[in-house]
């Protein structure tokens, strides 16, 4: 029987993320609940950085060792979900001398500060770095307000 480790992380909202960060011990214990011989991907993999500007947001993640076909990116409203799987690579008859790289399925959802224009979201994946560009919905773009002199 193959052990698969599924970790669905809850939505990372801005204040919630900090609270979740305060529980590393709990996460570590959860990571190892499944047992088995492989090192599971940790619960909050991959780490995400979020940049934002007037046009939209850019979310970046370091996800080494996954093919772009193996990555699943979806946008719904103001939530971006990145999921995929890091495949077990040990060939038949192989023995680990050191095993630090996590394997298994991962999924992370992050809340953006605005609703994204889902039809125009683009993503690039190069050298293991994922970059997702999420434009704001036209209605949500900051509008310049003219001050009229009365």
């Amino acid at each position: 029987m193959l052990w698969r480790n599924r970790y669905r992380s809850r939505s990372t909202q801005w204040p919630m993320a900090r609270m979740w960060q305060g529980m590393p011990r709990l996460r570590q214990d959860m990571d190892y609940l499944s047992g088995g011989t492989s090192v599971p991907v940790r619960a909050n993999y991959p780490a995400l950085n979020v940049w934002s500007g007037s046009e939209g947001a850019i979310v970046t993640a370091e996800i080494a060792g996954v093919n772009s076909e193996g990555l699943d990116i979806s946008v719904e409203g103001d939530t971006l979900t990145v999921s995929g799987e890091r495949i077990q690579e040990l060939p038949e008859g192989g023995k680990f001398q050191r095993h630090e790289r996590g394997q298994g399925e991962f999924s992370r959802a992050i809340k953006l500060p605005f609703h994204a224009d889902a039809d125009n979201v683009t993503a690039t994946f190069q050298h293991g770095i994922l970059q997702v560009e999420l434009p704001r919905l036209p209605e949500e773009k900051p509008k310049k307000i003219e001050i009229r002199s009365a």
């Binding site: 080494a64 680990f96 770095i129």
Partner: protein
């Protein structure tokens, strides 16, 4: 609430030296898998952000050092709102066993994963003795 740092994929290298470094750049220790199959040792290291040109592998005496230089392109006109990881170069050293044939070491990098093939030399291969049941 105490400020707990996220358990990172990569571990930051502590710079305790007081020597002024010409380039101030964070360095990280990449996570590594080492496994043995048949007569070769394989090493895979996670170095996201590193391309072919950024890889440097050196062997000095019995020390194998893998280095990866990251190319960063910060988005123009954007502000960093939320950060879970920092960007920096990678470096890690390993002591090389005598069993490895240094001239036959090969390396490739794809999708940010550096893969090294370290074949054992002939004497090491021949050491395997078959036990036959009578």
């Amino acid at each position: 609430m105490t400020d707990q740092t996220l358990e990172l994929e990569k571990q930051e290298v502590e710079t305790t030296s007081e020597i002024e470094k010409p380039r101030v750049r964070r360095r990280y220790t990449p996570r590594v898998d080492i496994y043995e199959v048949d007569n070769s040792v394989f090493m895979t290291a996670d170095m996201p952000g590193v391309a072919d040109e950024g890889v440097e592998i050196t062997i000095e005496k019995n020390l194998l050092t893998i280095r990866g230089e990251v190319e960063t392109s910060l988005p123009e006109g954007y502000e960093l709102n939320y950060r879970e990881y920092r960007v920096g170069n990678y470096e890690r050293s390993f002591s090389l066993s005598d069993e490895i044939d240094r001239d036959q070491i090969e390396a490739t990098i794809k999708n940010g994963v550096l893969r090294l093939t370290l074949p054992k030399n002939e004497e090491a291969k021949a050491r395997k003795i078959e036990v036959r049941t009578e």
